[in-house]
Structure formats: C-alpha cells, structure tokens
Symmetry: C2
Subunit: 516 residues, 2 copies
C-alpha cells in the first residue's frame, strides 16, 4: 500500500510557483460553489506519521482557501465530557455541516492505532473498532458526505531526515519531542499496525489516499489537487449511490402483529393507581440516587400515536427526579443547523453524560415512522436507518447507557375521543393541529411502520416496551415499572434484561403485596 | 427482534389447503423464470432454534418447487479438505449458480453461534467473524445474488412443546437427542448470542427474516410467500444497487510511479545465472520439503505485460518441486459455469490445501486490469474489487497461506521485439494474437491500472513484488529469491515480511559468497 509513497516524489520550486496561483483560484471557486450548493459536507482526515507534514498541509490549505468556511479539529486525550459518552461522540459533534469543509488533525483512527502500539488495545478490539468505523463512514457517505482520508507516509530514513530538519529549524524545533524519536524506534511496529488498519478501512466508499510526506511542495500541491478534483466531481453530481438495500417483503398471513395483540382494555382504578404511583416513583427516586447509578446514564425514548399521553407519562417520571439530573428533549422538525448535518446529528448532541437521564419526546425513530410514511426520505434511506439506529444504540449501551424505549398505543376510537376533548378545552387546543387529523388518515401505514420498527430495532440492549395506553393510569404505571426494573437490573449487576414485552403486569398483586 | 415471532401465529387447516395450490403454481413459475433469465442466484439460509421446523420447511419447499433446480447444503464438522483452507471456503464452493436456488441448512452463522455458546469462541472473535460475514454477503449482493436469511424462532415454552411433539411421533423421534434437551436449558444464553449476531448482521442489503417456528402451516406458507415475493421483485429488476464507491482522483504530479521507477536495465549474465539458479532452486526445494512447511500453503500469483515471461519464470519454480506438490492454474476467459457465479468463485475453487503450492498464471487481478481497461465490468464493480481482493487474500493468509504476487514488467520496446521474434518462430507463433497487439495500444491505460493495483492491494500479508523482466535471467532469479525469502521467513517463524520492493538485489555479491 505504501509503495507509491516511497519513490522520493519531489516538485521543484519553479513548477510549484507556477502551479499554485491557478490551484488557489480553483480551490476558492470550488469552496464557494460548495457553500452555494449547500448539499455536501466535506470531511478531510489528515493523518500519517510523525513529521510527515500533517500540520504543514493544514496550514497551507488555510492559506489557499477561505478560512472562514474551513475548520480544523484536533483531538487529544478525551475530556471528562467525552469520556462519559460513546467513544465516537467527540467526532460526531465535530462533523462539518453541508457546504463546509472540516479537516481532522487526528481522527477516529488515532486511538486504535496508538493504543494498539502501546499495547493497551488487543488486535480483536482494534478489529471491532474498525468495523464500527466502517459503518460510521458508510453512514456519512450515504448521508451525502465527501470523505477524503489522507495518510502521509515516510520511509524510516525519510522520517529520520524530517525529524532532524524540524529540530534544526528554530521555528519548528519545539514540535519534536523525545516521544517522536521513540516512535521512530518502533517504526516497523507502527507500519504493521497502520498497514492492517488502513487495509481494513480501505472501503470502496471511503478509500485511503496514501501519499509521500517528505517533500513539502509535492505533498501540498498533490493534496490540494486531490481535494479540488474530488470536490469538483461531487459538485458535478458524480455517482451518488447508497448502500444496497433489500426491499422488505410484507407478509402477515394471519393478520396478527405486535400491535394487534395488545390488550388495550387494561385498566387501573384511581385508588390503586395512587398507591402504585407512589411505590414506583419512590423506587425510581432511590435508583437514580444510588451511587452505583453514577456509572450509567438513562436514555428514555417516547414514541406513540398522537394524543397517546407521552407528555403525561414523562411528567410522572420526572416527578421522581431532581430537575438537575434529567433533561427532556422534545423533537420537532429539524432546525436549519440540524438539516445541514447527517440525520442522527440532532440526537447525538443531546446524549447525556453518565449519571444523568435524557428523555426524548419523539426521537430518531421519526426516520422509520413519519419520514417513511410521509415519504420525506427515500426508501433506501429509511431502510438503512434500522441498522444505523441499532449501531447507534449499541454504542450508547457500550458506553454505559440504559436505553428504555416506549411505544404508547391507543385505539383509533380512543384517539378520536381525545382529539375532540382537546378541541373543547381551551388550554389543550394548541395540542391538536390539522396535521394530527391528517396523520390519523394514515393509521394503517403507521401500523405497518411501527411493527417493522419493533421487529428491526428491539434488541437485547435496547428493547421496545409496547404500552397499552387507552387507560392513562395503566400506561403510566407500566412505564414507571419497566423503567425501574431495567435500572434495577443494571445497577444490581444483572444483565439489564428487560421486562418481557406485552407481559401482563401483575399490578393488582404487587399492590396487595405492598399492603400486606 | 423476536417480538413478532412470539405471538402464537397460526394458520388453520382450511386456509392452508386453499392457499397452497396457488402458491405452488406461482413458485414453480417464478423458479422457471429465474432459470430462464439466468441472472440471479438465490441464497436461502434456513436457520433457527432446534425443533423450529428448519428441516420441515426445506422438505415442503422441495415438494412445492422443481427439485431439479433446488439444492440443499448441510454442513457438519469441517472435513479434512475444509479444515486446510479458509473457514469460508466450504460455503464459497456451495453457492448456487445464477438462476438457481440453494438452501443452506446451517450456514456461515452456525459455527460462531455454536462456538460462542460452547465457550470456545470469544465475543471479540465472534465480532471479527461477523464483520467477515457482512463483507461476504455484501459481495454476494453486489454480484447480483438474492440473499434471504430465515431465522425460525421459538419461545422457551414453544421449544419444549415442539421437542415433546417430535419425540412422540415415531417418524421424528430419532431427531430429538439429549443434546437438544440440553440446549433448551441454555435457552437464554442462546437467545442472547443469537440476538447479538442477528442484530450485527441485520444489514440493509441482507436483513434477517425472523419467523415464529411453532405452527407448521404458518411457517411453511409464510416462508413460501416471502420466497415468492422476493424472487418476483428481483425478477422485475427492483432496486439493483451496489455499494457506494468513491471515484478515484488520479493525480501524479511528478510523473513518477512504481512502474516508471523500475530500472529495466538490470541484467545477469549467463554464467552467474546458472550459479544463482542452482542456488535458489536448491533452496526452494529444501523449503517445500521442510516439515514445518506442512502447516502452510503457497499461493503464487503471476501477472505481467504480454510476453513478459510469466511462463518461463513459472517453469523455473516448478523445476524445483515435485509435480505432486504443486498445481499451475492458467486463467483464461471464464467458462459458462464460472460466469454463473460470483467473480471470485473461479479462483476459490483452486485454493490449495496446506502443504501444497498453487501457481496462478494470471489471476483475480484480471478484474482490476483487463476488465477495467476493456470496460468488461462497471466502474463500481472494479472499484469495489480492491476491497474484495484484500479480504480474500487476508482470509487466505489467516488460514496459513503464504501469498507471493509478482508483476513482470518489460518496456514497450522489449515487448515489440519479443512479439516480432515470436511471430518468426514456428512453435511460438501461437503465443501471439491480435489481442496482444490491441492490448499494446492501451499501454498507458494498463500502466495506470497496474499502479492503482499495487497501491491498493499490496498489503502486509500479500505484498506485490515488481519484477524488472527485460532481462529474463534477472527476472527469474528475483522471483525465485523473493519466493524463497518469503517462505523462509514464514517457516522460521518470522513475520513473513517481504523482501523490499524494487530492492536492488545484490546478486553478484551473494554468488561470490557462495563460491568462497
């Protein structure tokens, strides 16, 4: 892989001086067109060996382009904030919006390569990370990003020469530390690790560009030209593809599905409700204050039919908690800033630190619900979303999050009743819109989308709980109980296995037990 | 993921009896159309819990369809033949040709799931295998296959009921063993492992179809309908996509590349050649007879310009070996049988067992050389081939193969000279065709393709050695020497690191040493 980058490539001063003005003008023009069009985010990874010219390259690109619409992201030891979230979180946050270019000095590749060489990450763990990276980059590309991954390579001798030269120049001497010289000693080990990582992540959608780093003029000019050509190609609309998707074959021979099987007549009378509510709120309050909870976070997802009572259920949860410990994130139409990012970005930004609770009132499942039903995104987009969502939730779980997802289901009749009630009550009228009435007409399409969602995204780490919500009391207690049981299982070191879906919660019995 | 498959789905006898005739007719028709069209291989994985009806489903599909164009593949403990090759080899061999349906009773999923439950495969190793599986299935889909993955699910109670029923029926009692009952005890562990594996392999291109296995009629009818609808959709040409690919940006600012840097004037005079030849052939002969070689195989790949001397070089290698230990595989245009399979299939079939040597005279690199240059395949196809080839060679290396790849390069003038010579010599005239002259006209396109090939597929496990072949003697010795050094490094337990590319082989010196 490194053969072409060991030939001693060089550009002489004269050629360079002649080529630069034209390249600069073209780069600026491409950059403006990119902004104007506002569709393509450009992710540039600038990586490579110590002394191979990563910093110089970034500097020269700043010189050549309009720095107002460039950003550079460097990553060192993860901050507190970052350590308490999924490992990829720091990179998710840093992605450029559409129309802009971000240069990553150090990226999601730095830590697996570094940690493996230091002996703190096994080969198998590196391979798991590689798989995660490939899925992440595929998602970026599917979302329209142009991903350019540069690796600046030096031969061992070349690296020695570069470090010496940097050390000699007073302007750059500070950059060369003992650590760099030590790295040179492990040149072979680095090359072996890098070779493996680069090969495994050299995907058709985001291949590596391996370039010789020794000659400044060659490296700068080549990087600039590659960046220019790649942007031009994408602006010209070349070859936009997404991951192949299998079209779902909807088959339901006996008309039974997870929604139709719900028993919506479950009820809890007021007296029992008060007792149960106190019991479970008390329990929840204890659980989130338990010192062992400090290693975890909670991510609650509320989805449900319009007027199914999401807000009321959320209030019954938050009533048991300190307002400093939780955050409610209501999801509406994406903002302009959010539309300029990959679909998942607007959720990434609200991921809680450990020790905290985030409650999503609607969520990333909009992709496979409203966006699917209303045709707001292409079939290929919502079909690949199931995998993306599972990957996302898996990473959350791996970082210590307890993910609890509720679908609140009411009957079509109950919904009609609630709509009409809302229209009558002055302070509730704002809650009902024409859109709600329109959604109602698509009841059957939503029904299919919900069943598919449960089938494809109810996983061991992040199971769905379907809530029979025709009776508000019943629904609220089931939600509180499920949340407590999941949390308890995790905190007492259990697997966090969920309460069985559709389990007929024996509320009567347990309230009796409490009394006795 | 299993929620919809725990509802107690059932089809009554009457409904079943009415539905079957129509379904059978339609399946037969779809099957014939599939054959007629001859473009789509259908891969059906029939997997699931013990007693969930895998065997019954396969039997009923045989009853409903034309069994002449169906095949079923079962896999138990790998045979000797299989153990001595990459783990996926047994499945590669078993793929259906285009237009046919193969049902896999047990598949590439069986061993990771089974071994993990038995405790002989770590989570990380499972995840590595999962990645390999996802890449493999993506390749199948990119090559046009329809991949349907069925998982028949049972609740714990349902499994107990099924096993009891099977045991009671004298026709099926033999199928229930103590092992099955033991598995029931570890139901939760199985579910946990399966849940993880299914989630991670639930890709957009080959998603799982999870189905309740308890009721025979429901399971059979649903499987049949899904199979039918999926085949019909694909016959109708729905949604054919391939993996997104980044278009390469060709940049070569200083005109230097791995080919242009070769010093084609290297020469060895006849006297030295004889000495060197004897030396390296002797060494090779020892190496392949070394008992330690029995844990490895050798895969030599020869590519090169027309008339570069591949055949002569190969003969110098085989002269050092016993004819029973090696096989030369000349690659010409694919046969009809080979065209009905994924691109890589015709190479898979020739993978040697350990202890043996396979020499490919041209190879899978045709995809990124002649097929690219001549436009025999789409750009997206050869662009994804680099990754597929690297994956393939990586699996070979992991199974103990030493992969040694040679590109033989001659100058355009030297080629002309050889062409003319060949036309003059009676017994060599067959070696020169119009095609060779046409290829010559595309010298520049081939040049680019070769450089890209080396950049993208020269990896730690499978590096390219570029051979300056204007002088046949020099080329032959470099090849023998490289092969010996790679083999020696592997056999003496070294990393198998290749001789440096373009290294100026100090032949003179070493031959002197021998004399002294």
């Amino acid at each position: 892989m490194f053969e072409s980058a060991e030939l001693g490539h060089k550009i002489d001063k004269e050629t360079y001086k002649q080529a630069v003005p034209e390249l600069r003008a073209a780069l600026l023009e491409a950059q403006y067109e990119l902004r104007e069009q506002g569709k393509i985010p450009v992710v540039v990874l600038v990586s490579g060996q110590d002394g191979a010219g990563k910093g110089e390259t970034i500097n020269i690109l700043y010189e050549w382009m309009d720095p107002r619409f460039l950003s550079t992201l460097a990553f060192s030891t993860p901050t507190d904030e970052e350590q308490q979230r999924p490992v990829m979180w720091r990179y998710w946050r840093a992605l450029p919006p559409k129309g802009r270019i971000s240069m990553f000095a150090g990226s999601w590749y730095s830590s697996p390569i570094h940690d493996h060489i230091e002996g703190t990450m096994t080969q198998a763990a590196v391979d798991q990370r590689i798989d995660q990276i490939n899925r992440f980059e595929a998602m970026l590309v599917n979302e329209g990003a142009l991903v350019l991954k540069f690796w600046f390579h030096l031969t061992r001798e070349g690296q020695r020469r570069r470090l010496k030269a940097l050390e000699k120049d007073p302007r750059t001497a500070w950059r060369v530390t003992q650590w760099n010289w030590d790295r040179l000693k492990t040149y072979d080990k680095l090359q072996e690790t890098v070779g493996h990582v680069l090969r495994m992540t050299n995907t058709p959608w985001a291949p590596w560009i391996i370039m010789e780093g020794e000659d400044d003029r060659y490296r700068s000019l080549t990087t600039g030209k590659i960046l220019l050509d790649a942007i031009r190609q994408r602006l010209a609309g070349a070859n936009k593809q997404t991951t192949p998707v299998a079209i779902p074959v909807p088959i339901n021979l006996d008309g039974r599905d997870v929604l139709s099987e719900l028993n919506l007549s479950h009820k809890i009378v007021k007296k029992d409700f008060e007792i149960e509510l106190a019991k479970w709120q008390g329990k929840l309050s204890e659980l989130v204050r338990d010192p062992r909870f400090k290693q975890h976070s909670v991510i609650c997802v509320f989805e449900g039919s319009d007027a199914a009572g999401k807000g009321g259920a959320i209030r019954r949860i938050t009533a048991a908690m300190d307002a400093r410990d939780y955050q409610i994130i209501p999801i509406a139409a994406p903002t302009e800033e959010e539309r300029a990012q990959p679909y998942m970005w607007r959720f990434w930004r609200h991921i809680p630190r450990i020790g905290r609770v985030a409650i999503f009132d609607r969520s990333w499942y909009g992709r496979v619900l409203v966006e699917r039903v209303e045709g707001f995104c292409a079939e290929a987009d919502w079909l690949r979303a199931y995998t993306e969502i599972n990957d996302f939730e898996h990473e959350l779980a791996a970082s210590g999050a307890v993910i609890v997802k509720f679908w609140l289901q009411i009957s079509k009749e109950e919904q009609l009743k609630r709509f009409k009630e809302r229209e009558k009550v002055e302070f509730k009228r704002f809650k009902i819109t024409d859109e709600d009435w329109r959604n109602r007409e698509k009841w059957a399409e939503y029904h299919t989308a919900i069943c598919d969602m449960v089938d494809r995204t109810s996983t061991g780490n992040a199971p769905w709980t379907l809530v029979e919500a025709n009776d508000k009391n019943y629904g609220r207690i089931k939600i509180l109980k499920t949340l407590c049981e999941r949390l308890e299982a995790v905190i007492i070191g259990n697997t966090g296995k969920p309460a069985k879906l559709n389990e007929s919660t024996k509320l009567k019995k347990s309230s009796n037990q409490k009394k006795s």
